[in-house]
């Protein structure tokens, strides 16, 4: 192990190359291009291998971060992959979309000096390096336990549970409502941030481990949880948050007003941007407004831009409060997305054919700090403004679909429509039923869903082992 006392601290994070903004705004190819092996080794060598690393406790899936970085620094990429995949079955995904700046990298000892180790970029490098090798290394799988687990939803939470339980010898079946596995990774996050070939690769890895993957199967319609429990020993529900919220303002029924879910699903799952190669077209718009300031809003605005539209974000608060990752905000700004901060939509205005043609907004100002110290936006009277447009995408949040709650007697549902589950185990009010990810927390991050999946898998394994 390196001795920090004897080593000159290197605070220069190695930059990851990206497509230039003026190029990438016209294509759906991935924006970030990843580290070369040389860059990865250089970056890994900066890690001082803290004796009490603070990065690990801040990783929701508890990856031994210093250990895999040390292996990279020693050019032992296979060893590094083993360490990484011991705790993370979706490293290529996490390396791209996890908010590392808010988690592991935030507690890096170099963070205060602005030189935190680029853990996410290293994770991504390893996963991509492994994918380039001829044969993926398969982990040890314990002998069959004879127990069967059904997983509802093929998104990050469900896939994590599947990956953990299959290795422990249980038979695992994932039921996915859509025609492809991956959940939000497939239908939500755009190609330019997470190429779908990567999600497919990670899903195929699980299939090779022995996980049975069933698509076009809507639990709650095709079969209920109770019916599934007649055949399986346990059920994990990770069905996500797929019910979009709208603003509840006049004009939302006009044509051209989309939920972010619909807009992104048309582009990502149905490949609308590749029409006519793929069969579901997406309407071409000239001016698109996206309401909201989270990562989903950035994804929608940047997608609209790539489809040739003038694209603007309408956000009720100021830039400082944007909930999206700073990296995504900066990417959107570089590409030419227009930001209207402190702006609130009041109504959508339609034409004589029922298509949206404008949005009326009101300007806001930040009021006095409330008890929590936050300044809430307050409308400025007489500041109304109208923007002409031909599409609006509402990206203000989602709740879980109510179907499973409505068809599963005794399953306790919270007031926001979320399944109530124990934070540490994922156990629900129903025996033999666990839940985790967005269906419990409401729309959150991929890695938090995976963390919840890990806890639930542990609890399910304990239960199955006790039978």
């Amino acid at each position: 192990m390196s001795d920090p006392e004897k080593k000159t601290l290197d605070l220069r994070r190695r930059e990851m190359p990206k497509q230039p903004p003026e190029v990438r705004r016209y294509n759906f190819n991935e924006v970030a291009l990843g580290y070369s092996a040389e860059s990865a080794v250089e970056e890994a060598k900066r890690c001082i291998q803290c004796k009490k690393p603070l990065c690990i406790p801040n990783c929701p899936v508890e990856i031994n971060i210093p250990a895999f970085i040390k292996s990279i620094a020693e050019r032992d990429f296979i060893g590094a992959v083993r360490i990484l995949k011991d705790k993370n079955c979706l490293p290529a995904v996490c390396g791209r979309v996890c908010p590392q700046e808010e988690q592991c990298e935030k507690t890096c000892v170099f963070h205060k000096k602005g030189g935190q180790i680029a853990i996410g970029r290293l994770e991504r490098f390893l996963a991509d390096w492994e994918a380039q090798q001829r044969e993926l290394e398969m982990p040890e799988i314990l002998p069959s336990s004879g127990r069967k687990v059904a997983i509802v939803g093929g998104g990050p939470a469900g896939l994590t549970v599947a990956g953990d339980l299959i290795k422990l010898g249980h038979k695992v079946t994932v039921f996915e409502a859509l025609h492809r596995m991956g959940g939000v990774l497939i239908y939500g996050i755009p190609e330019f941030r997470l190429p779908k070939v990567i999600v497919t690769r990670e899903v195929e890895y699980l299939r090779k481990l022995g996980v049975e993957l069933v698509t076009d199967f809507v639990v709650g319609k095709t079969r209920s949880i109770d019916s599934i429990l007649e055949e399986f020993d346990a059920v994990f529900v990770g069905s996500g948050a797929g019910l979009p919220w709208f603003m509840e303002i006049p004009g939302e029924n006009l044509n051209g007003v989309y939920s972010a879910n619909e807009y992104l699903t048309r582009l990502n799952l149905m490949k609308g941007f590749l029409f006519p190669k793929y069969h579901t077209p997406v309407k071409s718009h000239r001016r698109v407004a996206v309401v909201g300031g989270g990562n989903v809003a950035m994804d929608c605005a940047r997608s609209a831009l790539r489809l040739g539209a003038e694209s603007r974000i309408i956000y009720r608060r100021s830039r400082e409060e944007l909930p999206a990752r700073l990296e995504e905000v900066e990417n959107a700004e570089e590409e030419g997305v227009i930001f209207d901060f402190l702006t609130l939509p009041l109504r959508y205005i339609g034409d004589e054919n029922g298509w949206v043609k404008a949005i009326e907004c009101q300007k806001m100002e930040l009021g006095e700090p409330d008890a929590s110290g936050r300044r809430k936006p307050i409308p400025i009277e007489g500041s109304e403004v109208i923007y002409p447009l031909d599409a609006v995408v509402c990206a203000i949040g989602n709740s879980p679909n109510p179907l499973i709650g409505a068809t599963t007697p005794g399953l306790k549902i919270g007031k926001k429509g979320n399944i109530e589950a124990d934070e540490k185990t994922g156990a629900t009010s129903r025996e033999k039923v666990w839940a985790g990810g967005d269906v419990v927390t409401g729309a959150a991050t991929v890695i938090l869903a995976m963390g919840a999946g890990r806890f639930a898998a542990r609890s399910i394994h304990e239960y199955l082992s006790s039978l």
Partner: protein, 150 residues
């Protein structure tokens, strides 16, 4: 409706709080989803707490304090009217509540502007502020739950 004395105004306000509680109880009973019914039940309990406070004021056990100006976030002002049906969600329940409190605020403001009696005007404006405070409470709950990304 005679509102010629503080006592009559308080009786009126107490009756309005009871009506509001009944409105929410009726909605709670009609909800298809239990968790939304529970939300309306909790709103009804809050109205009964307001009623109890006004009864205490009328009995002389408590004083209505004319507080500072209440912030109006105006979150509910531009939202569409919610059609009351058994399949309402929590989000829509909060919109119903914001709009009901706004209507109550406007009622007392209107009554205050229709009297020249300084004493009666004062109590009516104080009641209006109470309703504005209730509206703000629902606006904050709505903002924290449904406007996090906006």
């Amino acid at each position: 409706m005679n509102l010629n004395s503080v006592s009559q105004i308080l009786d009126f306000a107490i009756e309005k709080e009871e009506e509001a509680a009944q409105f929410y109880r009726d909605l709670a009973a009609k909800m298809g989803q239990q968790h939304v019914g529970e939300v309306f039940e909790s709103f009804a309990r809050e109205e009964l707490e307001h009623k109890a406070k006004l009864i205490a004021v009328r009995q002389g056990n408590m004083t209505l304090i004319d507080s500072q100006r209440i912030t109006d976030l105006k979150i509910g002002d531009h939202l569409v009217e919610i059609v009351l049906s058994p399949d309402l969600e929590y989000k829509q329940a909060l919109i119903v509540a914001m709009k009901a409190e706004k209507a109550a605020f406007q009622l007392y403001q209107g009554l205050a502007s229709s009297t020249d009696d300084a004493n009666l005007k004062g109590i009516l404006l104080t009641l209006a502020k109470e309703e504005a405070r209730h509206k703000l409470r629902f606006e904050i709950e709505y903002e924290e739950n449904f406007l996090r990304e906006n």
